[in-house]
């Protein structure tokens, strides 16, 4: 039985039908009918961020930490425009979002009306799909489709633009039970012939390597991945987006490949004879110089998005399908009559590299650094102190993010929330708030830099006032660290526009101004107590760690170089000796 109601009421009913429990919404003129309807919803908590970008990042963090679709709602014009970075960020990382933008009335669309912006036009390249509603009656079907498109196949953000006369107009509401999209039918099952071919290659390989990414997380293929790795004793390298897909304390986990991968990880990627690539897109930050990437290997490429296969690197065995189905199918085939794994000497070789070239850091710049607080040490202590707690690690972007990748050991799925493809500074804090909204019992930590955190620091108010006790650990080195690192290595130490004095702002006072707990750490001895105090505090907390200023993330693959040619990463060998003219020439090419 359909029911007569306004578009705004129907919109809320659609969200309720989709199981939405929290929505990040910033109101404004033409969005008011929708916010008014939300006021009566018992199911949906509306959280007011302090900036629309923060709202979309929060919805994104919620989606990453829970696997559910995140929802953000904003007004037209500037409200819609402020969502762009958040939407692009979710698009690059294939995160399911439904972003609702209010729009001026259909009668004045196209007249440059107050707070009018063509948001569907603007977001075509950064959404999986978008809608501009013209009549209230279109609303239920559009919402049903939007949630379906956002969460299925390769997930991604979908935007719905709702003119004010649509939300005020009336319709007979009936929520469709299913969608009918002729042009959208994702392929989930891998072609059985291709799967058999993969099985045959895997069972014969001497130096196989699983190179896995965000597709394992979005496909929920943790068990299938672990089964395959353990059954055939295949080492696993997880990309930054794939982090948390495989337990990092497992002996088969060999780290994150690419620009800041460990030497042993990149050596393994280079020497493998069979690269089993699942839910990855051969991103330039992983592959380095494409021609020499995994050049000794046959490549099996599994992805739910056919357009990813062969995009950057041709695959010997392309398999279109989702990670869970395809890996599950491969494991089932292998179990029927699997050969014994032949990888013992391969694993031993990787372990030797691991022993010879471990991730490491330490005083090396000169006098006065003994006893200094190193950013890597801060991450290691966060790791130690959260070992026994359900923890979600969020990061900002830059050195803080790479150190979190290198020195935090993730143990469970969806415990990692970090901006991958777009590399969005200012993502971490709002994303942490979203993650906390979805996982109220988890300890949610944002590992931040002093640069990134200032891009959305206003969200401390959102955390405080909505009772999200997120913890921000700032690796405060007084620089835009990654920019400074590139300037140090490739631009003759000319620190153009990358210096941020450590003491400005005073992050402790700033935290307190927002009603949060704030504390400062200047020497390693103070660190554990400060972190513990922050983690045990019942509200949001900020730990300002004044770390060594000119520390670099190593190893590092110079842009354009092969990934087995790394700067740093060799204990006792200073980077300055590795940075010869040849490396610099490649960077400038």
């Amino acid at each position: 039985m359909s029911e007569r109601m306004t578009g705004a009421e129907a919109l809320v009913r659609c969200l309720e039908a989709e199981g939405v429990d929290v929505l990040f919404g910033y109101p404004g003129g033409v969005a008011l009918p929708i916010f008014d309807a939300l006021y009566d919803s018992k199911q949906i908590t509306t959280v007011l961020p302090r900036h629309e970008q923060g709202g979309v990042h929060a919805a994104d963090g919620y989606a990453r930490a829970t696997g559910k679709c995140g929802v953000a709602l904003v007004t037209s014009g500037p409200g819609a425009a402020n969502t762009i970075t958040g939407i692009a960020n979710a698009y690059m990382d294939s995160i399911p979002l439904v972003v609702i933008t209010a729009q001026v009335s259909t009668a004045v669309i196209g007249t440059d009306a107050f707070q009018e912006i063509d948001i569907t036009g603007i977001t075509v390249p950064i959404t999986k799909h978008n809608y501009l509603l013209k009549d209230a009656s279109e609303l239920p079907e559009a919402f049903k489709e939007a949630f379906h498109i956002a969460t299925t196949g390769r997930p991604g953000p979908v935007l719905i633009d709702v003119p004010v006369d649509v939300s005020k107009g009336e319709l007979d509401f009936d929520y469709p039970a299913s969608v009918n999209l002729t042009g959208y039918k994702p392929t989930y099952r891998g072609h059985s012939k291709q799967v058999k071919q993969a099985v045959s290659l895997i069972s014969r390989a001497r130096r196989p390597l699983l190179y896995v990414g965000g597709g394992i997380v979005s496909g929920g293929a943790y068990k299938e991945l672990k089964d395959l790795a353990e059954l055939m004793q295949i080492p696993v390298a997880t990309t930054m987006m794939g982090k948390s897909a495989f337990p990092e304390d497992h002996h088969l986990w060999i780290g994150m490949p690419g620009m800041h991968g460990a030497k042993y990880t990149n050596y393994a990627m280079t020497e493998t004879d069979l690269l089993v690539a699942v839910g990855v897109r051969f991103d330039d930050r992983v592959t380095g110089k494409l021609s020499s990437f995994a050049s000794k290997a046959k490549i099996i490429h599994v992805d739910v998005d056919p357009a990813e296969i062969g995009k950057n690197k041709p695959a010997d065995v392309p398999i279109v399908g989702d990670a869970k189905n395809v890996l599950g199918g491969i494991v089932a085939e292998l179990r029927k009559g699997a050969d014994e794994p032949k990888t013992e000497s391969w694993i031993k070789l990787i372990d030797e590299w691991r022993a010879q070239f471990p991730l490491h850091y330490g005083p090396h710049l000169g006098a006065g650094e003994e006893g200094a607080l190193f950013p890597q040490y801060v991450v290691q202590r966060v790791n130690e102190l959260t070992k026994d707690r359900e923890t979600v690690i969020c990061t900002e972007v830059g050195q803080n993010q790479m150190w979190a990748c290198q020195y935090y050991t993730l143990r469970s799925p969806r415990s990692w929330v970090s901006s991958g493809g777009l590399g969005t500074m200012g993502f971490g804090l709002p994303a942490a708030i979203g993650a906390q909204a979805g996982r109220p019992d988890a300890l949610v930590i944002d590992i931040a830099g002093d640069g990134s955190i200032q891009m959305n620091i206003q969200e401390l108010a959102t955390a405080k006032l909505n009772g999200y006790p997120v913890k921000v650990v700032i690796l405060n080195n007084g620089y835009l660290g990654m920019v400074r690192q590139w300037q140090e290595l490739f631009y003759g130490r000319r620190y153009s526009a990358s210096v941020l004095p450590q003491e400005c702002p005073d992050f402790v006072k700033l935290a307190e101004a927002y009603g949060c707990f704030g504390t400062r750490v200047e020497v390693p001895e103070e660190l554990d107590a400060a972190l513990t105090a922050a983690f045990d505090h019942d509200g949001p907390a900020v730990v300002d760690c004044r770390v060594v200023g000119e520390e670099c993330v190593y190893p590092m693959v110079a842009p354009g170089a092969s990934i087995d040619e790394m700067l740093g990463g060799v204990p006792g060998c200073p980077v300055s000796e590795m940075l010869d003219d040849e490396v610099l020439e490649e960077v400038w090419e």
């Binding site: 036009g121 075509v124 390249p125 999209l181 042009g183 357009a307 062969g310």
Partner: protein
């Protein structure tokens, strides 16, 4: 290499923009474009002639196919399909030259659609090379204006 893509899409506002902007941002050049309805009023056919330099054409066909409103994408094989363009030429034609021009038009089975004091307007359809050949010949007389549609194409009926 030049390809002719036949893209069947839902007949909805904004779909053409989605398709063409995808070509632009993925670095493919559109040489010609024709859009029209199909036998099914809910569907439109977009025929795109595009050249792909280094990137394989599959990259763009797969990306286009990912668009929600796109139903089918065909990379047409010229030997397996019928391709046509429509062209209008307005040619300088003093009365004494008119006859020659009309003769050329007849050879190409083109139609005279307008005659002015000093010009003749000719309509022709055909494959791209035929149109190109006519254009070459008419240039000698001076083409005042020319309008060409994008190419439209269908696969040949295999069963018949």
């Amino acid at each position: 290499m030049t390809h002719t893509l036949s893209v069947v899409v839902e007949n909805k506002p904004g779909v053409l923009t989605r398709v063409t902007s995808l070509f632009a941002r993925r670095g493919f050049n559109i040489d010609s474009l024709a859009v029209g309805t199909t036998e099914d009023p809910t569907l439109s056919r977009i025929t795109i002639v595009c050249s792909a330099a280094d990137t394989p054409i599959e990259q763009i066909t797969k990306q286009v196919y990912k668009l929600i409103n796109v139903i089918k994408v065909h990379d047409l094989d010229p030997s397996e399909s019928v391709e046509r363009e429509l062209v209008l030429f307005k040619i300088n034609a003093a009365p004494e030259k008119r006859h020659e021009i009309i003769e050329i038009a007849n050879v190409f089975r083109a139609k005279i659609v307008d005659v002015g004091k000093n010009s003749v307007t000719i309509e022709a359809t055909g494959a791209t090379d035929k149109i190109d050949a006519m254009e070459d010949l008419f240039r000698a007389y001076g083409i005042k204006e020319m309008a060409r549609t994008g190419k439209i194409a269908l696969t040949r009926g295999r069963e018949s």
